[in-house]
């Protein structure tokens, strides 16, 4: 019974959730006008930090995940403070360079990172959770689930909670003094500054939040997969994450969520798409920029869908 709890579907669901986190990690800096191509790098920092903490020091996964996200966030601050003097294109290139440096370090720091082979035997969240509930005398079979069904279900639910909390955080922040500062910087940096907004502070804040979220997604990725290698965090990953956000709609958070869901599902549903995925991505980016640079979902579309006449700034 309960066959509908299919590990394969749950696995895809988990990937979608991780990709939503990654898309949001691009969206947040973008909401203050910062395009970061370093998300794959920050993701890698989170993944490696958490994996190494749990493998080498036997720390609980939760400590590893929080540690991974924090290290990525702190790196975001360190990189952010000086490089946010740079605008637009320069920042994009600097973060792209950063991402590559991080990857090269993963490949070459053999003694710690095991080089291009990567790390294996990373403790997996699902098993840990299973052990935990067993400690309380609970067996999946008691609710009619097989062990692996239970494991995948728990991972999915845990990720779901984390993603929901993240979205809740970002939306609440958006509709506040902090969010208004982000969007005013995005729209006109100089005017924002002359309204008393400390633009350096808010830019670093949004950039570091993005780094933190990417690091969080990375460390969760490591503990879901159980193995990681530098190629998981290459430039292609950064581009893929960027596409989630840009395709779905970079002005609204729901755009990032939609982009991550849609673009993760499509290659799974349409197998033939999978092979040509990047070719399609490439064409899509070009067409999008020319036809609909704000992405599929935007404020106008959303307010029409909801049939609301209220302030279009309200949903940002």
């Amino acid at each position: 019974m309960l066959d509908f709890i299919n590990p394969y579907y749950l696995q895809i669901g988990s990937f979608i959730l991780i990709n939503i986190l990654l898309a949001v990690s691009v969206y947040v800096p973008l909401s203050s006008g910062q395009l970061s191509l370093g998300s794959a790098g920050f993701m890698g920092v989170g993944a490696y930090t958490s994996a190494l903490l749990t493998i080498n020091f036997d720390l609980p996964i939760m400590v590893g995940v929080v540690g991974g996200a924090c290290v990525a966030g702190i790196l975001g601050i360190i990189i952010g403070i000086p490089s946010l003097r740079l605008t637009g294109v320069y920042l994009a290139i600097a973060t792209l360079g950063l991402g590559e440096v991080i990857r090269v370090i993963f490949v070459n720091w053999d003694s710690v990172t095991k080089g291009s082979i990567g790390l294996t035997g990373i403790p997996q969240i699902g098993r840990e959770l299973l052990n935990l509930v067993r400690g309380f005398g609970f067996e999946p079979s008691m609710i009619g689930l097989k062990n692996n069904q239970f494991v995948f279900l728990m991972v999915f639910l845990l990720l779901f909670i984390i993603v929901m909390a993240t979205i809740w955080f970002v939306v609440r922040q958006q509709n506040s003094r902090v969010g208004r500062s982000f969007s005013s910087i995005q729209m006109d940096e100089k005017a924002a500054e002359s309204m008393g907004i400390n633009i350096t502070y808010f830019k670093v804040l949004s950039f570091a939040q993005g780094a933190f979220l990417a690091g969080l997604a990375g460390s969760l990725f490591a503990h879901v997969m159980g193995y990681i290698s530098p190629s998981d965090f290459s430039y292609h990953r950064a581009v893929e994450i960027l596409i989630f956000t840009v395709f779905g709609g970079s002005e609204v958070i729901i755009g990032s969520i939609f982009g991550a869901i849609f673009l993760t599902l499509i290659p799974e549903v349409l197998r033939f798409v999978s092979e040509y995925r990047y070719i399609i991505y490439g064409i899509m980016l070009v067409i999008l920029m020319a036809v609909r640079p704000q992405g599929i979902l935007d404020i106008h579309l959303l307010s029409r869908v909801k049939g609301l006449k209220r302030s279009k700034g309200g949903m940002r």
Binding site: F169, R172, Q173, S176, R177, V178, G179, R180, S181, S183, S184, M187, D188, K190, A191, A192, E193, S194, M195, G196, I197, N198, I199, L205, I299, R310, S311, K312, G313, G314
Partner: protein, 257 residues
């Protein structure tokens, strides 16, 4: 003195945009800054708000030297400005624009915003209430939910003033607020600035509309080629030989008289 400009100069790669300019503005007055295009008026605004730092000289605000202070700090001190070519947050509603203006008079951060603490909710309510009042003051209350970019030109100018007022400035800098306005709009602008003055806010205004300047200002400084040509009451300026010669020109004389 609210603002003292002391021997301020600004060079841009060898070009003197401003040369040894000094003037001071008293509490509560409306002070005009006039002069032909390229005389350095907007540069003076940019120096006061530290978009550029002066090459030499000092800017003193309420007995405090603010030269070289970061722009956003200067706003916190109580100086706020509008721009000659309107710089609103075009994709935000009028109300939100004004609420951003209240940034320096509010303090909630990430934590209080996300968890909606009591203090944060109170602050948001106050920001909104204050913004609505300012929109009423400039006559835009009915349009508060429109995006700034969808407002008419004259409305955008007034919205910029409301946004600046939201920072509760002691000194308001207006850069050609009447530009592009018709006679009726200019009249209501006059009333608005007078109301602002009556609230105890000192106003420094750059304006090309001479009848408005002469009617509005308590004192005026004339800039020409980056130097101060004259300073005085509107009456003195209108009768200053040098000013008439250098700036007002023959054709505008009648208009002023």
């Amino acid at each position: 003195m609210v603002l003292e400009i002391k021997n301020v100069s600004k060079n841009f790669g060898g070009i003197h945009a401003l040369r040894n300019v000094s003037f001071s503005i008293k509490q509560g007055e409306i002070y005009g800054l006039i002069g032909p295009n390229g005389a350095g008026k907007t540069t003076m605004f940019n120096l006061i708000t530290n978009i550029f730092e002066p090459s030499s000289g000092e800017i003193v605000f309420n007995d405090e030297n603010i030269t070289g202070l970061k722009s956003h700090k200067i706003t916190e001190k109580g100086i706020c400005r509008t721009y000659q070519n309107i710089r609103l947050f075009s994709q935000m509603s009028a109300l939100k624009n004004v609420m951003v203006g209240g940034h320096s008079r509010s303090s909630s951060g990430v934590f209080s915003s996300v968890f909606r603490t009591k203090a944060q909710r109170k602050e948001e309510q106050e920001l909104e209430k204050n913004a609505e009042e300012l929109l009423k003051l400039v006559g835009l209350f009915e349009n508060k939910d429109l995006l700034a970019e969808n407002l008419a030109y004259g409305q955008q100018r007034r919205l910029e003033i409301a946004r600046a007022l939201a920072s509760k400035p002691k000194l308001l800098l207006l850069d050609e607020p009447a530009a592009g306005m018709n006679e009726k709009e200019t009249d209501s602008l006059y009333d608005l600035i007078k109301i602002i003055q009556s609230k105890g806010i000192t106003v420094l205004i750059i304006e090309h509309d001479m009848p408005l300047v002469m009617k509005l200002c308590d004192r005026i400084a004339v800039l020409n080629f980056g130097e101060k040509l004259a300073e005085g009451t509107p009456y003195e300026i209108q009768n200053n030989e040098a000013v008439i010669e250098a700036y007002l020109g023959k054709e505008e004389e009648e208009e002023i008289a």
